[in-house]
């Protein structure tokens, strides 16, 4: 699963720590999410999208 977390987060001048605190997870989880090494639950995906002021489908996508 690919995502645009890092791209959008940088545009919003947010740190990984900021996103982690707002979404209620550890910073390491945001690191793994950005690297595409962890597929989040629907709830976390929604929380991250909300924090980054976007939608889940714009944030996460499958690359074929």
């Amino acid at each position: 699963m690919e995502n645009r977390i890092k791209e959008i987060r940088t545009k919003l001048h947010l740190t990984q720590e900021d996103v982690a605190k707002k979404t209620g997870v550890r910073r390491e989880t945001i690191v793994f999410l950005e690297q595409g090494k962890y597929n989040p639950s629907l709830k976390l995906a929604y929380e991250v999208a909300k924090t980054l002021k976007t939608s889940v489908d714009k944030l996460f996508f499958l690359k074929y």
Binding site: A20, G24, V25, R26, E28, T29, Y38, S41, L44
Partner: protein
């Protein structure tokens, strides 16, 4: 309270508890570690409640924890079954092989049943459908453990400490304890 401070205190508490448990075993005092475990758990529980806006674990940790637990159970069961078979087969070489093999067999069975029950319980839909069956299995499991415990700790077929010597009572399947008999 920060997460770093909490982890530091937790390390100290666990270290202290480890020392307490090891010393209690040496001095054969079983009340102290129980009090220690209760006190340290309460302290850590209280400190954890003081962690505001800090996350000790999240969904990724729980997922990894679940995978690690499943792996650990599978590795332990495989290893225990192999060792158990070897010990049962070689019980003539050393009389202590039999109780070790029996303990391993019971441990594996207990772990597997407990895992299945917890799995089914967490899988609530299935649990609700077969609720009676799982309650019956749970009762049988508790009775099995209680029976095993009674058999293990009863004076029947055991070694009894009398006048500074280990005296055989019944037909124990294991050798006399290696610790000194002081009664």
């Amino acid at each position: 309270m920060t997460i770093k401070k909490y982890k530091y205190i937790r390390l100290i508490v666990i270290s202290f508890l480890a020392i307490l448990v090891s010393q209690s075993i040496i001095f054969r005092n079983y009340l102290l570690p129980i009090i220690g475990i209760v006190l340290s758990s309460s302290l850590l529980f209280y400190l954890r409640s003081k962690l505001k806006n800090e996350f000790l674990a999240d969904e990724r940790d729980y997922k990894i924890g679940g995978d690690a637990a499943r792996w650990a159970i599978q590795i332990f069961n495989t290893f225990a079954v192999i060792v158990m078979i070897i010990l049962y087969a070689q019980q003539d070489l050393n009389p202590s092989f039999l109780p070790i093999a029996t303990t391993l067999a019971y441990s594996v069975c207990f772990l597997m049943i407990l895992y299945s029950l917890i799995f089914r319980y967490l899988d609530k839909a299935t649990f609700a459908k077969n609720r009676k069956l799982y309650i019956i299995i749970g009762i049988v499991l508790i009775l099995m453990v209680a029976f095993s415990g009674l058999k293990l700790f009863s004076a029947e077929d055991n070694w009894i400490c009398q006048n500074g010597q280990w005296v055989q009572h019944g037909h124990p399947a294991f050798p006399a304890p290696s610790v000194a008999c002081t009664k």
